[in-house]
Symmetry: D2
C-alpha cells in the first residue's frame, strides 16, 4: 500500500503528465520555483509580528513550497522520508544536546 508521501508524489506526477509538463521540469527551474515560493511564504511575514500573519496565506504558500520540494525529490529519485531522517540524525551530531540546549547559535559558533 502506498504511504502518504508516495500518494502525494503520484498525484503530482499525474498532474504533470496530464499537462505534458515534464518537458519543462528541469532541476534548475524547479529550484527557482521552490525558492520563489519560499519567498512568497516569507512575504506574508514582512513588516509583521509573527502573530499577525494571515493563516490562509501561510497554508497556501506552504503548500506551494511543499509541492515544488516533492517534485524536486521525485526528479532526483530521492526518498523524502529517508533524506529527512538522515538529515535529522546529522543535525543531531552537529548540534549535540549538551551544547545546543536552549541556544540558537549556529553550529560553527557553538
Amino acid at each position: 500500500m502506498a504511504t502518504d508521501i508516495e500518494l502525494i508524489i503520484q498525484e503530482l506526477r499525474k498532474f504533470n503528465k496530464d499537462r505534458d509538463w515534464d518537458q519543462f521540469h528541469n532541476g534548475k527551474d524547479l529550484a527557482i520555483g521552490l525558492s520563489v515560493e519560499a519567498s512568497e511564504l516569507l512575504e506574508a511575514f514582512l513588516w509583521k509580528d509573527p502573530e499577525c500573519v494571515n493563516p490562509d496565506k501561510i497554508r497556501e504558500e506552504l503548500a506551494d513550497v511543499l509541492n515544488y520540494a516533492f517534485q524536486m525529490a521525485d526528479k532526483y529519485n530521492l526518498n523524502i522520508k529517508e533524506i529527512m531522517l538522515e538529515k535529522i540524525q546529522r543535525n543531531a551530531k552537529k548540534y549535540p544536546v549538551e551544547k545546543a540546549k536552549g541556544n540558537a547559535k549556529k553550529y560553527n559558533e557553538l
Copy 2:
C-alpha cells in the same frame, strides 16, 4: 499507526524538544530559515546546466528545505497531506488540461 509524514514530524519535534529550541521557533524565523535553505539549494545550480549539478548537494539542501517546511506546517497545525492535495486540486482548476497542455505559461497569461 503513524503515517510517514507523522513519523517525520515526531522526529522533528523530539529533536527540538531535546534542545529546548521551540522557544526560538517563531513563524517568522522559520519562514526565513526555509527561504535561506531554498536559496542554498538553488545555489547548487548557479552558472550550471542542470545535468552538471552535484546530486549530494541536492540531497542535502532539499532535506533542509523539507525539514523547515514540515516544522512550519507543524507550527501552524497544518496537515501536510491535506494542504498539498488541496493545492493540486486548486492548480488543476487554474491550469485546465485543455489550455495548459504542453504550455509553460503562467495561469494569468493562458
Copy 3:
C-alpha cells in the same frame, strides 16, 4: 566625468572582462546569483534581534547583492539612477502620504 555609479559599473566590467566571464553572465544566472546573495544577507538575521547582527557580515553580503544588481542593470542597459527615481515616484503614488503615514500596510490593503 564619470558619476559614482558609472565608475562602479566600469570596475565591474573590467573585472569580468579580465576573467572572460561575460560568456557566463546570462540574465537568468545573474538573477539567481542576486537572489542567493540576498538570502545570504538575510541569513545574518536568522534567529536574531536586528540589533545583534554582525555588521561586518551585513557589509560584505550587501556588497555582493549590490554588485550583482549593478551587473544586472548593466546587462539590460538600465540606468540605475533613472529606474530607482522612477520607482520612488511610482511608489509615492501607490502610497500617498495621507493614507500611508505611520502605516505599514501593503498598498492593496490601504
Copy 4:
C-alpha cells in the same frame, strides 16, 4: 555637490520621512524585503530562456531590489561605493585572473 548615489539616498530618506516609515524599517524586515524583491525579479526568468524575459518586468523588479539595498546601506551607515569597490578588490584576489579566466567554478573549487 551630492553624487548620484547620495542623491538617490536623499530621495529614499525623504520618501520614508514623509510617510513616517522609519519606525518600521528595522534591518531584519529590510533584509526580508530585499530577499522577497530579488525573488520577484528571479520569477521573471522561471521556465524561460533568458532572451524571452519581459524587459519591463526586469526594470521594475530590479528597481525594487536596488531601493531596498540602498535603504539597507543607509540604515547601517555603509558607503555604497566604498563597500562595492572593496568587494571587487577582494573578489579579484579570490579569483585571480590566471586561474579564473574563462572558468565559472566557485573560488573554493578552482
